[in-house]
C-alpha cells in the first residue's frame, strides 16, 4: 500500500497530519492520550475507521501514562467527535481488554488488524461493481487516509484498477475542508487512477449529462434500517443520483454499523466552527459582518442506497436488520457506551 494514515511503534503513534496535505506531508508523533484526543478533534486524523483506530491507540497510550483509569480514558476520547460510531467502537475494544487486565497495546493492534482486514475485504467485495472502466463519483475522502489502509469507498476502486479496469473518478472537492481535492485526489494520483476534481456543485450536472455511472461513498454511522450519516453533501448526491437512475453504494467495515440505532433520526450531527466556511487558505471569503453554519455531516435515508459494500458481501438496505441481528448474536456489542 502506498498510503497509511497512521502506525504505532515503540510507544508512539505516528500519524499523518491530514490538514496539511497535499501541499505538505508532515507526520505527528503522539505519546499521550491527550495528544491523540487533540488530533481527532482538530481533524489531523479524520475518517470514521481511522479515528476509531487512532482512538484505540490513544487508549493504549493512556494506559502507559499511568494516570488514567480505563473508564476515564474512554470518556476523554469519546468527547472528541460525536458522529462517527467507529470512534466509540475503537475505544471500547481497548477499554474492555484494559479493564480485564489484558495488554492495551495488543488490544489496539488487534483492533487495527480487524479494521484493515475488513477494508481489504470491502475492496474485494466491491471491485466487480467497477469493471469495464466506468465513471464513478465519490464525495469526501474514504480512502486509506480515512481508514488506516485500503479505504472504504476507494478500496473497491483500487482493487478494480489493479485488476485492469481503466476507471475514471469524479472527485467532489468537498467543502468546507476539501477532503476530496486535498486527500482523495492525492490518493488517486499516487495510484495513477484517472480522475478530475469538481466543485461539489458540478456533481449533479455530470449526473444529468450521463457522465456518472455510479456513486460510492463511505459512512460515519449506519443505522439498523440503513439510514446513514456521512460528510455534509452526501445526502444531496444521493437524491440527485436516484433522480437520474444512478446506483449509489455505501462502503464500510462493520465498525461503522450501529445495530443499536433503529434509524437515522437520532444520529448526532456535529456542528463545527463557522470559520471553516468563512475562510480558506487564510483568506476571508465572506464579509466580516456575516456568520456561517457548518454542519459536518448529513443523514441520508436508506431508500437512496442501492447496496452497502461490507466485508462480507453486498447488503441491500432491506436485508440489513437481519444481517446485523445475525452478527450481534455471535458477539456482544458495547451498546450502552455509544451516544
Amino acid at each position: 500500500m502506498a498510503v497509511r494514515a497512521l502506525w504505532f511503534e515503540r510507544g508512539t503513534l505516528h500519524l499523518i497530519d491530514q490538514r496539511l496535505l497535499p501541499l505538505r506531508l508532515k507526520v505527528l508523533h503522539l505519546r499521550r492520550l491527550g495528544d491523540v484526543a487533540d488530533a481527532i478533534r482538530s481533524m489531523a486524523v479524520r475518517g470514521a475507521p481511522a479515528i476509531g483506530v487512532a482512538a484505540a491507540y490513544g487508549m493504549a497510550l493512556g494506559a502507559a501514562e499511568g494516570r488514567w483509569t480505563p473508564d476515564r480514558a474512554a470518556a476523554a476520547l469519546r468527547g472528541t467527535r460525536p458522529t462517527a460510531v467507529d470512534l466509540f467502537v475503537g475505544i471500547e475494544a481497548v477499554r474492555a481488554e484494559w479493564a480485564a487486565g489484558n495488554d492495551p497495546v495488543a488490544a489496539a493492534e488487534a483492533y487495527r488488524e480487524l479494521v484493515v482486514g475488513e477494508c481489504r475485504r470491502v475492496g474485494e467485495v466491491g471491485a466487480p461493481l467497477f469493471r469495464g472502466g466506468p465513471k464513478v463519483l465519490t464525495h469526501c475522502n474514504a480512502g486509506a487516509l480515512a481508514t488506516v489502509e485500503w479505504g472504504t469507498a476507494l478500496a473497491p476502486l483500487r482493487v478494480a484498477h489493479e485488476r485492469g479496469s481503466d476507471l475514471f473518478v469524479w472527485v467532489d472537492e468537498t467543502r468546507p475542508l476539501l477532503q476530496g481535492s486535498r486527500l482523495t485526489a492525492w490518493e488517486l494520483g499516487q495510484e495513477r487512477i484517472r480522475h478530475a476534481v469538481i466543485a461539489d456543485n458540478a456533481a449533479g450536472h455530470y449526473m444529468r449529462a450521463g457522465e456518472v455511472d455510479s456513486v460510492i461513498v463511505g459512512a460515519d454511522r449506519i443505522a439498523r434500517n440503513g439510514d446513514f450519516a456521512n460528510k455534509i453533501g452526501t445526502y444531496e448526491k444521493a437524491v440527485v443520483a436516484r433522480e437520474n437512475g444512478i446506483p449509489f453504494f455505501v462502503a464500510a467495515p462493520w465498525s461503522t454499523f450501529d445495530a443499536e440505532r433503529a434509524d437515522g433520526r437520532a444520529i448526532p450531527v456535529e456542528e463545527r466552527s463557522p470559520g471553516e466556511v468563512l475562510r480558506f487558505g487564510g483568506v476571508r471569503a465572506a464579509p466580516r459582518s456575516s456568520t456561517a453554519r457548518n454542519p459536518a455531516f448529513d443523514v441520508t435515508p436508506a431508500r437512496y442506497v442501492r447496496a452497502f459494500v461490507t466485508p462480507d458481501g453486498l447488503v441491500r438496505p432491506r436485508d440489513l436488520p437481519t444481517r446485523l441481528r445475525a452478527r450481534a448474536s455471535r458477539r456482544k456489542r458495547p451498546a450502552s457506551k455509544i451516544p
Copy 2:
C-alpha cells in the same frame, strides 16, 4: 439603493470589480469596448442582467472610438461569455439603434432603464411570496451586483424586508467563485437582512430538516418551455427542493427569456479554467498532478420550477410559451443574433 454594479458618466463606464468583493471595493473606469469585453470575460462584472447592460455600454464606447462598425463591435462583445442570453439582448439593443443612425449612448441608457425597471417590478411581484419571515435559500448572487440595481432573486426579498418581513436567508457560498459568500452575503449585510453562509453541500441538510421554506434563484437563460441555465449547482438545489416539497422560484427580467429556444438541451454551457476549482485565495487546494473540470452553469428542467417571478407577474412553466408568444407578437426579438 445601497448598491449599484455599474454607472455611466461622461464617456466612461464605472464598474465595481466584483472579483475583489467583499474585502476590497474597487471601481474600474472603462473607456473602450475592449476594456468592457475583458471585464465581462474575467467576471469583473457578472450576473446575466448586469453583463447585458455592461455590453450595451460597451457598444456605446465602441461607437465613440470610431474604429468599429456596429456589426464588428457586436461580434467582439458576443464572444465574451456564451451562456447568459441578456448579453446578446443588450448588445443588440444598441447595435440596432447605432446601425439606424441613432445615438448609441441613448440606446444603452434606455436598455439600462428597461432592465432596472424590470428588476424593480420583479421585486414587487415576488415580495408577497416572502411575507411572515420565512427561511429562504438562494444560490450564487442574483442581487444588485448581478443586475445593476435591485437584483432578480434578491429583489423580492428586499421588498418583503422593507415591508416588515423578518426573513432569514441561507446563502450558498457557491463554489468555485464564491459569489454567495462574497457578494450575496455582502448585499444582505448592507440591508441588514438576517442570513447565514453555508457550504453548498449543506443546503440539502437544511432542506430535509425543515429549515428551508422556499428557494429563489436568478437565471442566465430561460428557454421557451421553462428549462433554464443558472450558476452551477442550481440543478442540485432544485432536485433536492422538490424531493422535500419546497417551492422553487426563478426570478428574471424579460431579457433573460430566450423565446427562440424550445428547451434547455442546446443552451451553451461555458466551461471555465480548472484553476478556479484547484486554487482559492492563492492557495493550491489539490495535488499538482490533479486536474479539474469547471462547468460554470447547469441546466435545470422546467418541472422543478414552481413559478417564474417576472416583471409582469408569476408565470408557471406550463403558461410560459403562451406568455412569450404574446410578448413576441408585440415586439421583434433579434433571434438570429443569439447563439
